[in-house]
């Protein structure tokens, strides 16, 4: 899967979880940039990504996520 495809698929997950169709994500986007991105939605986001991309994300991976860029690299790594 190409990075751009991951971004596109991830954007759909974001739209779905945050119930906001006008959401924009880029490499440097953090929780501060998106309304309602709290621990509850973060959990929903991670579980959605797991189902959507068919990967498993553990506590260790979550610790190293600081922005959307990190998230995309994690997905890339997990997809191998």
């Amino acid at each position: 899967m190409k990075t751009e495809e991951i971004y596109a698929q991830l954007l759909d997950v974001f739209k779905n979880v945050f119930e906001n169709n006008s959401i924009v994500i880029e490499e440097s986007t953090t929780a501060n940039d998106i309304e309602n991105w709290d621990s509850m939605t973060h959990l929903m986001l991670i579980t959605e990504i797991e189902t959507d991309f068919k990967i498993e994300i553990n506590g260790m991976d979550v610790m190293n996520l600081h922005n959307v860029g990190n998230l995309v690299s994690l997905i890339e790594r997990k997809l191998g």
């Binding site: 621990s39 509850m40 959990l43 579980t47 994300i57 553990n58 506590g59 260790m60 979550v62 610790m63």
Partner: protein
């Protein structure tokens, strides 16, 4: 040696001169020596505890990094947690557990006479233990590599500006700063001094002046009605905020003079519109520590549960947040209250969002702020209560006689009438200007006129109205 003492002024002035006159390669030694000296001025032998904690975490960090398997890495993490938290537990909770055991055994008519240990709690232990444990968790989660230089690591554990009461710094932020050379910079020193002046003002002019008034009410909770106790709790909230944020800002200022940046620990918490927001603005270094090293790991370990996982993690986190402050039932209740309200906020998020969009903005915002502040005061009454039985008397009075204004007036009169009115005026002035002055302290605003005027005015206020009885900072007891 308190920040607000003459002795500290001499200590810090000498340190700054020596620090900037020696080569970078010697500076960590100077700062480490100064930090240990600072700690030893309180109780010399307890510095060995800091050294022990530093050694344990230093080696566990390296062993974790060198471990070939995740299982082995986990072993070293558990070793560090067991030792560091074990020491913390021993000093902080041993007597509490011992008392509990004695009571249980006595209720079964079994003889158990051990009274517990007669030892002082090592000052700052909760803070430096959390900072050190945070480092080991960072290495475990591979957020960073272990620090190889033991001297610099020991300095990270004991850096004197934030050793006693935080901010609890992240290893990824503070450790690298010790390796960079910080040149003498007059502008930065001025900036640091602003933090210190503002901190001293909050401590000496606001917080310390309120001590006797709050002490009178909280020392005799049975004698006063709800109105007086609400008033005293309001003053306590101001005292706690002014005192603790003062410590954090003085710490920030001292570190800044030497060239180091510490994190912001408070962000005008009483402006919060809900308790979730409150914890993002109050004792930020602790709540973010709890979020990253406790709440999130529990949450993601139980993620299959869905929403209940959030509530489960919240309760564990806030129970621990409560008892982190000490072994008292009142701290446990304080933590539980936060967890209940935060759970309510999670469950009612959509409902509140709808309400917010339909209600007039001004009305909704102010009412939210007022309710949040009211709850904060109520939970602080447990935080401040001298005992569990006092907290029960307090809660009853707070809800049964909140409008007994005669009692409040006679309390104000007995507490010094005009002098109290003057103190209250200072408190209200402080609350209304806190935001604006702090923007000047942080150099966010640069009105030259205000800048030139405000700091001499604050210094004059400290000189005229400050209380110079060297009252310890409240958070030293944790």
């Amino acid at each position: 040696m308190l920040f607000n003492s003459f002795e500290f002024l001499v200590f810090f002035s000498i340190l700054v001169v020596v620090y900037f006159s020696i080569a970078q390669r010697f500076r960590w030694m100077l700062l480490l020596g100064a930090s240990y000296y600072f700690y030893m001025s309180w109780k010399p032998e307890y510095v060995l505890l800091i050294l022990f904690t530093s050694l344990v975490s230093y080696y566990c960090g390296i062993w974790m990094h060198n471990a070939k398997t995740l299982k082995r890495r986990k072993h070293f993490l558990w070793l560090s947690l067991a030792i560091n938290l074990g020491v913390l537990f021993f000093f902080k909770y041993f007597n509490f557990v011992n008392d509990g055991v004695r009571e249980v055994l006595q209720s079964f008519s079994l003889h158990y006479s051990y009274e517990g240990l007669d030892i002082l709690l090592p000052i700052g232990i909760s803070f430096y233990t959390f900072q050190t444990v945070g480092y080991n968790l960072d290495v475990f989660y591979q957020v960073r590599k272990p620090e190889k230089h033991f001297g610099i690591f020991a300095l990270f554990v004991s850096f004197f500006p934030q050793l006693i009461a935080g901010p609890i710094e992240r290893s990824t932020v503070l450790l690298p700063q010790f390796k960079k050379e910080h040149h003498f910079n007059l502008e930065r020193i001025q900036h640091g001094l602003k933090y210190i002046i503002w901190g001293l003002f909050k401590k000496l002019v606001i917080a310390d002046r309120l001590v006797p008034i709050i002490g009178e009410a909280y020392g005799n909770v049975g004698d006063y009605s709800g109105s007086t106790l609400w008033f005293a709790t309001f003053l306590y909230a101001i005292q706690l905020y002014a005192d603790f944020s003062a410590y954090s800002e003085i710490a920030k200022g001292l570190a800044k003079i030497l060239g180091y940046d510490l994190m912001e620990n408070f962000d005008h918490p009483f402006k919060s519109k809900n308790i979730t927001e409150f914890w993002r603005r109050w004792h930020i270094s602790l709540s973010f520590w709890l979020r990253d090293y406790l709440y999130n790991p529990i949450l993601f370990a139980k993620k299959k549960w869905g929403r209940p996982a959030v509530i489960y993690s919240l309760f564990i986190t806030f129970i621990l947040c409560g008892v982190w402050h000490g072994a008292k039932f009142t701290y446990l209740i304080f933590g539980l209250l936060q967890a209940f309200v935060l759970t309510f906020e999670i469950l009612s998020k959509k409902w509140r969002k709808n309400l917010q969009s339909s209600a007039p903005k001004f009305f909704y915002n102010n009412l939210s702020m007022l309710l949040t502040f009211g709850f904060t005061l109520f939970s602080f009454s447990f935080f401040r209560a001298d005992s569990f039985s006092d907290s029960m008397v307090l809660s009853k009075a707070l809800f049964s006689t909140p409008f007994d204004f005669n009692d409040l007036f006679s309390f104000i009169k007995a507490s010094g009438g005009i002098r109290l009115a003057f103190t209250l005026t200072l408190v209200l002035l402080f609350l209304s200007m806190d935001h604006k002055i702090y923007a000047l302290v942080k150099n966010e605003k640069s009105s030259r006129f205000q800048k030139l005027l405000i700091f001499p005015a604050l210094l004059a206020a400290i000189g005229m109205f400050g209380y110079f009885g060297e009252v310890e900072f409240i958070y030293f007891q944790f």
